[in-house]
Symmetry: C2
């Protein structure tokens, strides 16, 4: 193992330069403001958690967790999502708070293996958890808020695909009873959106033709509200039917929100988090293959922390949205002004800087301004010019007269 060079940083993590930070902060502030308008209050939890509590309860596979030991030899993890830590807080610090609880967060999370595939080992998520409400209205609220949040983030063209883990569970339980391995293989294909693989495995199972056709038919169960009707005709399993009825209720509420233009039903969708128990959804932006949002219902997680309760929520993949949106929305201070001075003009220059800062401008002062820059400053001031000036690599909207000898002090 060669020693890393001084300027290197670990694989899979990023530096954000001022331009990117400005855009990231803008997304963060606008999304959190949107969540706040829906009554969600922001909380923060530590970067490190116990492996045996939050680490085990999290949706992340063991090998993807960053682990470290504290001074006492206890294994800690860097948080891999915010859902499990928030469940811990709801069951401890907030245990006296009445349900439903509406909580939001903006946070970095960590996944160890992602770096191998060139994906980020540390990235940002902005999300909410709605804890203590099992209704379809609660599920619809988080979907509608995900839509509002994507808009607040500046994502214009996107679709939310909604599914329900109960539908596939019910259908597979009915058609492939006792064949857990076959069920897991088929689910793995759907999770990876490998529909060719799904068909191949289905053929390899040598099922009776009606069952074979039924299971192949679910690949067509993607579209509008009518998909629910088609799904109900597929099988009579109680779990699957209850899932579809719940999705129809969610759709009705989403219609009342007036957001169905962004929504489609996708019954082939399996949430990628093992703790999902009901509705799951993913948000896809136009021209981007991987999701920019994901969420779902997780009614069994809270009981692992000692306060059983239904819950639903989502996270925007903020880092991915930042890449998607690019440079289009960056904003800076209204005006960036450079003021030069020498010892004789210092006091006057610093007073002027203070005045301009209080007015909302970004002001850089420098006691080292070479003759050329001084002349340019004087010329610009005399001309009343509004031309942009580049000094030492920074673009200034104004360059104030040099204060001092040879200047105007």
């Amino acid at each position: 193992m060669s020693k890393p060079k001084g300027f290197e940083k670990p694989i899979g993590v990023k530096d954000y330069l001022p331009h990117a930070v400005s855009r990231l902060r803008q997304i963060e502030n606008q999304v959190l403001a949107c969540m706040s308008a829906w009554g969600y209050e922001q909380i923060m939890t530590p970067t490190m958690e116990y492996y045996d509590t939050v680490g085990v309860a999290s949706s992340t596979s063991d090998q993807k967790l960053f682990k470290l030991l504290n001074n006492r030899g206890t294994t800690l993890v860097l948080r891999s999502d915010m859902t499990a830590p928030i469940a811990r807080v709801v069951a401890s610090l907030l245990k006296e708070s009445e349900f439903p609880l509406r909580l939001s967060y903006h946070s970095n999370v960590f996944r160890a293996i992602e770096e191998e595939a060139g994906r980020e080992a540390e990235f940002f998520q902005t999300g909410v958890e709605l804890v203590g409400d099992a209704s379809a209205d609660a599920d619809a609220e988080v979907v509608a808020l995900a839509i509002a949040s994507l808009k607040a983030a500046g994502v214009d063209r996107f679709k939310i695909a909604i599914g329900h883990v109960g539908f596939l569970n019910g259908l597979f339980e009915e058609t492939l009873q006792g064949r857990e391995e076959a069920q897991e293989e088929l689910k793995a294909c759907l999770l990876g959106r490998d529909y060719v693989g799904y068909r191949e495995r289905l053929l390899a199972l040598s099922l009776a033709e009606p069952v074979q056709k039924e299971l192949e038919g679910i690949l067509r169960l993607r579209g509008g509200q009518e998909i629910c009707e088609q799904a109900l005709q597929l099988g009579a399993n109680e779990t699957a039917r209850a899932a579809i009825h719940h999705l129809r209720e969610i759709w009705d509420v989403l219609e009342a929100y007036g957001v169905c233009e962004h929504v489609l039903i996708d019954l082939t969708m399996i949430g990628d988090f093992k703790y999902y128990t009901g509705m799951t959804f993913e948000g896809y932006a136009a021209d981007l293959g991987s999701p920019v949002a994901s969420g779902g219902r997780y009614d069994n997680l809270l009981q692992q922390f000692g306060r059983p309760a239904p819950a639903t929520g989502f996270a925007l993949k903020t880092t991915r949205i930042l890449e998607l949106i690019g440079d289009s929305t960056a904003t800076g201070p209204a005006e960036r002004i450079l003021i030069g001075y020498d010892a004789a003009g210092r006091k006057q220059a610093l007073l002027e800087a203070q005045r301009l800062r209080e007015e909302g401008s970004a002001v850089i002062v420098t006691e080292k301004m070479d003759q050329d820059a001084q002349k340019a400053a004087a010329a610009a001031a005399d001309a009343g010019s509004k031309q942009e000036i580049v000094y030492k690599g920074i673009t200034f909207s104004r360059l104030l007269t040099f204060f001092g000898r040879g200047g105007r002090a």
Copy 2:
């Protein structure tokens, strides 16, 4: 080692509930806005760094670093400050950018041993680095910005104590030449502000009386600008004299900034970071023993990353400021409104919620509102009441008429 309980979090780390997050965010935003007005641009760096690069270069002792291994067996650390990571960025991603560079940050940092003493293992810092300017004006700029930042954070009564590592180094080099161990012992006493211990060690060294008196005399070198004159009379060592002259220049610039009421000279002060090479300072708030800000000049750090340059900067101890300021400044949304509905009134309720959110209110909708709450809502609406209403533990400034059957839909 017993397994941690489900609701437990590691020792030394904190959850921040909505009220605390709101205050922390307010401090963060106001301080970053202040730094932006002074021309400092925000950057972000990863939580994890290589031990062999940033870990070694950081000011934190090895045992205080949180260490972990990545998949390749390379040792990583959780950043213990932001100065070393920013030096890495200046020498890599920003290596083509002209000096001076003005960079700001708000970030969590990690210190492993602190948890043992009941101190925090993860806490927030908000700070700046001014890279590529060796002048006294640059040192004065960061001190003046530290003062402006503390005010922006809401800290009203505070003092900034300024020292210079060159003064004690020069004086000790002159009076205790070749006695490195004695020098280190005396410096350790000063760092811990253990003046009794300092006098005891001094006596134990059995020095000639004039030297003994001179070294004891430095304990009185705390006060206004006049301290510099007194210090110059103490010894003739060139390093010490140069340090004092630099401090006098800084004082002159701070007078031009008009901030000297907040500043005192403290020549007994030793910065607690091993990389300081010149002026160092600490900010103390009234009624709080430990500093709320610290900073200084570090002209040798950048060369460790391959781009030698002078640099100066500071960090506010944001978490400590949060504790100091308490509940006094928390702000929330202008109005918090609850809207109840049933299936019949849903659409109307959700439309009204959207309208109110766009107007800047925080609106919670619920399809589960019991009869009593519905009646209270109707009564409040009829009376045009502005009374606060508590529903499920949340205080609302308004409770809108229930939309639906029995309501106004």
